[in-house]
Symmetry: C2
Amino acid sequence: MVRPGGRSARVQEAVHAAVRELEAESGREALTVPQIAARAGVTPSTIYRRWGDLRELLSDVAVERLRPEVPPENRGGLEADLEAWAEQFLDEMSSPPGRAYIRDALLGDPDGSNAGQCSAYAADQIDVILGRAAERGEPVPDVERVLDGVVAPMMYRILFRPGLLDPAYARRLVDDLLG
Amino acid sequence: MVRPGGRSARVQEAVHAAVRELEAESGREALTVPQIAARAGVTPSTIYRRWGDLRELLSDVAVERLRPEVPPENRGGLEADLEAWAEQFLDEMSSPPGRAYIRDALLGDPDGSNAGQCSAYAADQIDVILGRAAERGEPVPDVERVLDGVVAPMMYRILFRPGLLDPAYARRLVDDLLG
DNA sequence: ACCTTAAAGCAAACATGTTGCGTCAAGCGT
DNA sequence: ACGCTTGACGCAACATGTTTGCTTTAAGGT
């Protein structure tokens, strides 16, 4: 049972904070459960019991970091909005830390919802953009089409073809979709 | 130095075989380095020194299993060829073992070439299909377009949106691309 | 046949992951 | 407000996995 505001919640936050701190200090590869536990002021067994293993914990933390913090910028038109969003998305996700978070998010339980959350965040952002365009009376594509035509190709390159990324790629995908 | 045909090669093959056997017998999650080493008749330290850790080893093995064994079926026309290939690809890759291999392949060294190989295999298969179509005089899209329009969306769903897959999806992607 | 050297074996030191059991505190009923 | 119930945590012993220095083996070159 997770009791919000209680000890459980404090421990969870302390552990997540410890992961973020140690990741920043010593790098992604150096993380170990005992180290994280020590920094968070808990015993390793607490972490093992709650998360199972390091992968699940990192997956948890990664998903939090992938959550967008602000709604997508409003530039006044569907194409401009989508292009700006896609460019920023590609930029953030293709950076070394961005890629690490994506990989971590994919690592958790295959049937867990972490990877799904990741996609849902993107879908939400796109939904906002499309909603605004619809209010303006512009013709809008389906969210699914944007995921297939813009998000998926960018993710595919990030994951499977490192090094083949330039900022114009995001714009090209949006243009192809809307044109 | 890797001496083909020498002891190194024998050890590598023994270890890979051990991974495949144990994976089939005891399941993906139960694999450990000492267990694999015992089955392969080598010491754990050999595996650690050659591959670094279990992830790299599994990544290696996974890439091998993802290599297509036969050229894509020839059905006499570009659209039919691509549809058949995409459908089979989706079917294989979205199965539980297929997804496990993809995840393993992605897990290796981020700057290693394992994930890239994975994409290269698909590109090769597509290249064969497009080459045959070109010989027939059909107009053919770029390999890149097929990767972006067909492979990437399928992979995206497999990785990030489990459960949203039906066989017709592959055909729809091909139709949208060629139509 | 003899060197050279990369790779493998071995074993001990080390770190990490696991588990049983006692304790603690959050939420709940009285 | 008080005590009860129950999940989560700490602790410590244990099991398992990982790393490392050194030795031995065998492939390939001379």
